[in-house]
Assembly symmetry: C2
Homo-oligomer: 315 residues x 2
């Protein structure tokens, strides 16, 4: 288990794209700046999808430009395809991530592409990335989504995931992330699948998990991930993006709760929990009426807990 | 890690004593019968405390008498002292548990007893238990409460917990349970403390954890507990007893979510999750307006999940 963990804040992308309200650009900037100041070293600041589909993400290029002015912040974006990757590169993103659904049914429904067509897309993006000048070349990750099960197909065969993971690396992905898009993952499955994929593509090609807390297992799955060498976990401030029909149930794991857990365990995150908790007010003000989650924010930290106890320089 | 886990339902005691409403005796009986029918093999059905302090528990003797008519159900009760133990034995409980706060400040506040006085009380209860005819002799457990930290003292020194654990066994406790009364525990601490106490008192003398979900770490702490040989976990149906000021934040871990996690992990619980989820209606009807928690109840089980997949005869 690594003793220094990167938390990748995905709220400005995964959170904001899941709610109806559109956060003003100024609030996005304030949010990103505040989290970076609290010690968050990687933020997925938006996605390059057609604004007609996701108006919440229409200003992503401006958000990237702002985020790039923050020293030592890794500025990540999500892109659905080659066209999105072109826009991400033009905007100057440090890291681009393309979701690749392990469920072909989901892939066809979501991006209208077969697995074979997705591998071609990944190859095209990888080639595009490789053609960039080294100084501005982004890091290219493929997110293996619905890896822990699909709401349309149910469980996905491990052999299929391993094969698609290998093909993604062969197509030019620098790194993979396993995504529990549906909140189906359990700790035993996390351990098994991470080990299987790592052993297939190489230990250093899978370091990240994107977990949801749909069935309350998000942090339990983090513990399992830590045990098998995962060093980056996605999370969302206030668990933004939870489904209003099932309060607290469908969103990303809550960044604040994750930082509390890791800090309490003595794992370095580089993040000051008090400062992080204070950034919640930005969301509360910019997204009136939006449900904001978080056990630690509700309960407070334990008596004797030091907010900065694992704040040592990190990475 | 054991492949068969006992879930001890504590809602009829820990849940009901934490809320203002008093559940009618008929509803308590229906609840206990329904959970037992779903496969729950141990239920803490109430506590023997003065009815003037906890009117919710005034009918515990009748509840025990009813629960004892259910085949193969272990009927547990909590007692605060020798007098409570006498009542528990008279009622015919299968298991009695006395809470022993590792924080002396909390012990003095809660039971008005020093650690030394508590050890004397444990000795007196153990002697009382030993004097019972073998056929009706209850199992005697000591619950080491505030073991993971106290809201008044903060962290409790591990050496102190180990010493009090040893003294409890020496005084005649048959088994110990570590209780995260305050919801302060984290997975690293769970692993460490369980290992330390097990190695001090003997591996077979510590098999149980009573965890809370105050900071969202309840199931993560279960995963840690599984790894160090814990085989019994307390939980509360609907997370009953959560604090109304911090929704979902202060109660026990939710039995349904725990059963979902363990079943998904391939760990036998003997419990049919569908049948367990259906027992929620008893609480909804008997406790109108009371907040009922549970991620799995909100989100449903994953496509392809078999409610009875780990239902094999157990224990």
């Amino acid at each position: 288990m690594s003793n220094a963990i990167t938390i990748s804040e995905v709220g400005p992308r995964d959170g904001l794209q899941s709610i109806d309200q559109i956060m003003p650009l100024a609030a996005k900037k304030a949010w990103i700046a505040a989290e970076a100041a609290a010690g968050v070293s990687e933020i997925e600041v938006g996605s390059f999808v057609p604004p007609s589909l996701l108006p919440q993400m229409a200003d992503t290029a401006e958000v990237v430009a702002f985020a790039k002015t923050i020293p030592d912040l890794d500025v990540a974006v999500l892109v659905p395809n080659f066209k999105g990757a072109e826009r991400a590169i033009a905007a100057g993103a440090d890291k681009i991530s393309i979701p690749f659904s392990m469920s072909e049914t989901h892939s066809l429904n979501n991006l209208r592409k077969t697995h074979e067509q997705m591998i071609e897309e990944i190859k095209a993006v990888a080639d595009l990335v490789a053609r960039q000048p080294e100084a501005s070349r982004p890091y290219f990750e493929v997110g293996l989504s619905t890896a822990f099960g699909c709401t349309m197909e149910g469980p996905i065969a491990t052999e299929q995931i391993v094969r698609l993971a290998e093909q993604s690396i062969a197509a030019g992905a620098q790194e993979l992330c396993l995504s529990d898009t549906t909140g189906y993952a359990n700790p035993a499955q996390v351990r098994d699948l991470v080990k299987r994929v790592k052993s297939a593509v190489g230990d250093d090609k899978l370091n990240s998990l994107h977990l949801h807390n749909t069935r309350g297992l998000g942090l339990a799955n983090v513990v399992a991930g830590l045990e098998v060498g995962i060093t980056t976990f996605d999370a969302s401030l206030c668990g933004l993006g939870g489904c209003p029909f099932a309060p607290g149930a469908s969103g990303n794991i809550v960044t604040e709760d994750l930082v509390f857990m890791l800090s309490a365990m003595g794992v370095e995150t580089g993040i000051d929990l008090d400062a992080l908790l204070q950034t919640r007010t930005i969301l509360a003000e910019a997204l009136p009426g939006e449900p904001l989650y978080g056990f630690t924010a509700d309960a407070g930290v334990p008596l004797g807990f030091e907010s900065t106890q694992n704040l040592k320089a990190h990475g």
